[in-house]
């Protein structure tokens, strides 16, 4: 009889979340950050019809009650009609408040002065216009804007700076996209919303994965290993393609600035956040 040989695989930390525990944790986060810390019992978010904002709507409804959640749909004239209808399904399923505010006139009003704007610039104008609307609606309704950016897009720099990332509270910003999918399924987000190809919907037929050049499933595992400190050759040794690893590493390294506040010239011994150090909640 041959003696069995047991070979341990190279370690790769799992990304499989305990969805029930994650939901409880994030609901407690929303309650503490809005109600306990700020005394604000209402949340407002931009509801695109995609999975990220759908998941945040579900979390807010569970944490604060659906009557205290305001979903604002902000379509541009080129936005996909299915985005609007998907958003409506989420509103109907949760019983949250909703309003549709077209941004076409406001965006086009500016773009008349920028006839050379390419699709990327137009997309950034739309994203920033949506945040302008969201913050004004926040003031109108006494509701705190809640962010919907996930960890993958934050790390890949796949967002408009000072737009998508602007809300002061974000429950899903430390969840990779694949974890967003898992949590959304657990909470009962409609399958059609979970399963459709993620898209920023800033241009016709746009998809995230085509823009990024890699699938979320691959990117998330590579990102996780990069953040844990693994070098490229160690990531490749765990079965990831060298080109994929280079692509992801390049995107992360090129976008650190998007995950920080503006760089301020330090000229004193009391520079804010350098010498004068206070936590955000005190």
């Amino acid at each position: 009889m041959t003696m069995p040989l047991i070979e341990a695989p190279l370690d790769e930390p799992s990304l499989v979340i305990n969805a029930a525990l994650t939901a409880r944790w994030l609901e407690a986060f929303l309650h503490d950050e809005l109600v306990v810390r700020r005394g604000i019992g209402r949340a407002i978010l931009g509801l695109s019809g995609g999975i990220d904002s759908a998941l945040v709507a579900y979390l807010c409804a569970r944490a604060l009650g659906p009557q205290n959640v305001y979903a604002i749909r902000m379509p541009y004239r080129t936005s996909s009609p299915s985005s609007l209808s998907d958003a409506q399904r989420i509103v109907d399923a949760l019983g949250i408040n909703a309003e549709t505010i077209e941004i076409s006139d406001a965006v086009d009003g500016y773009l008349k002065h920028a006839p050379d704007a390419d699709p990327r610039r137009k997309g950034n104008v739309m994203a920033r216009m949506r945040m302008l609307v969201l913050f004004d609606q926040s003031a109108r309704r006494g509701a705190l804007p809640v962010g919907t950016g996930n960890k993958t897009e934050r790390l890949m720099g796949y967002f408009t700076w000072h737009a998508d990332d602007t809300p002061p509270v974000n429950p899903i910003g430390d969840l990779y996209k694949t974890q967003v999918w898992a949590l959304a399924r657990h909470l009962g987000v409609p399958n059609d919303v979970v399963d459709k190809p993620p898209s920023a919907d800033l241009e016709a037929n746009q998809t995230d994965e085509r823009d990024l050049g890699i699938t979320y499933a691959k990117a998330d595992r590579i990102l996780n290993l990069i953040l844990l400190g693994y070098k490229d050759d160690a990531i490749v040794a765990r079965g990831h393609g060298a080109a994929d690893v280079r692509l992801v590493r390049r995107r992360v390294d090129a976008t650190h600035w998007k995950r920080h506040l503006p760089t301020t010239a330090l000229v004193s011994g009391t520079a804010i956040n350098e010498f004068y150090l206070r936590p955000v909640d005190l």
């Binding site: 305990n18 407690a28 206070r278 936590p279 955000v280 005190l282």
Partner: protein, 295 residues
Amino acid sequence: MLAALVQFKPRKGDVPANLAAMRAIFARLAPKAPELIVFPEAALTGYFLEGAVYELAVDAPTMAQRIDEQWRASGAAAPCDIVAGFYENVAGTFHNSAIYVRCGEPDGVHIVHVHRKMFLPTYGVFDEERFLTRGRRLATFETPFGTAAILICEDAWHAIMPTIAALKGARLIIVPSASPGRGLCGGDELESNTRWKAILSSAAAEHGVYVLYAALTGFEGGKGMSGGTCAFSPRGDLLASAGPLESCIITVNLEREEVDLARATIPLLGDLSAVLPDLWLDDEIPVMRRLEESP
């Protein structure tokens, strides 16, 4: 000895509100008359203070007085020992400390012991040593249950700390903590809480000591304090534990004989005492070389 472990959710920086909450807990516990009540690390201020630590830190007599005032105002009658973590100002030197006081004596509150955290986490989400000075000694002290020691949070993650406490005679190790929860991929609980339980259970079982762990809960600027307040027997068995998110109180009966029985059954502490001189005098241990090389 009946001990109560308080999983506490302070209002950040609001000391008067947190003292009022402490008073309400004393009143709630009064009918059970516990002999020991343990609050977590940084219980009256919250944990992440950064530069505000210099505004909120107090000296040990002030902290003792504050606790005693709440205890007296609560209507509790029997004397009681109370442990609470606080940021300590020692004439302009700041520590992450925990105080052990005896309330209810006729001559006022007694400070039995102050432990100053020795291992100040300064990595990742932690930044303690930027603002605080580490303690220099792990001392034991006497309680109605017997000899005890306090380890604050990361102190307990270093296996040598409960070892030294036990070698100094501790039969009870009290661990006030503030632990930001992390790791949602580990099964039924936060990975950080699973790790805590493994560490505490191992310390209890190796040395035959009770381990009482009281933790903060609630979110501080997105960082959720992970609760998981719990108690381990001298055999390393989990006696009771709390979830991650809710304020609550655990009570546990500590029995002196349990310590003796655990140590008699598996005499690891006695074995260590016998072997320790050989281990300690090993000149291949780097710290020993450094001592010899120092002028």
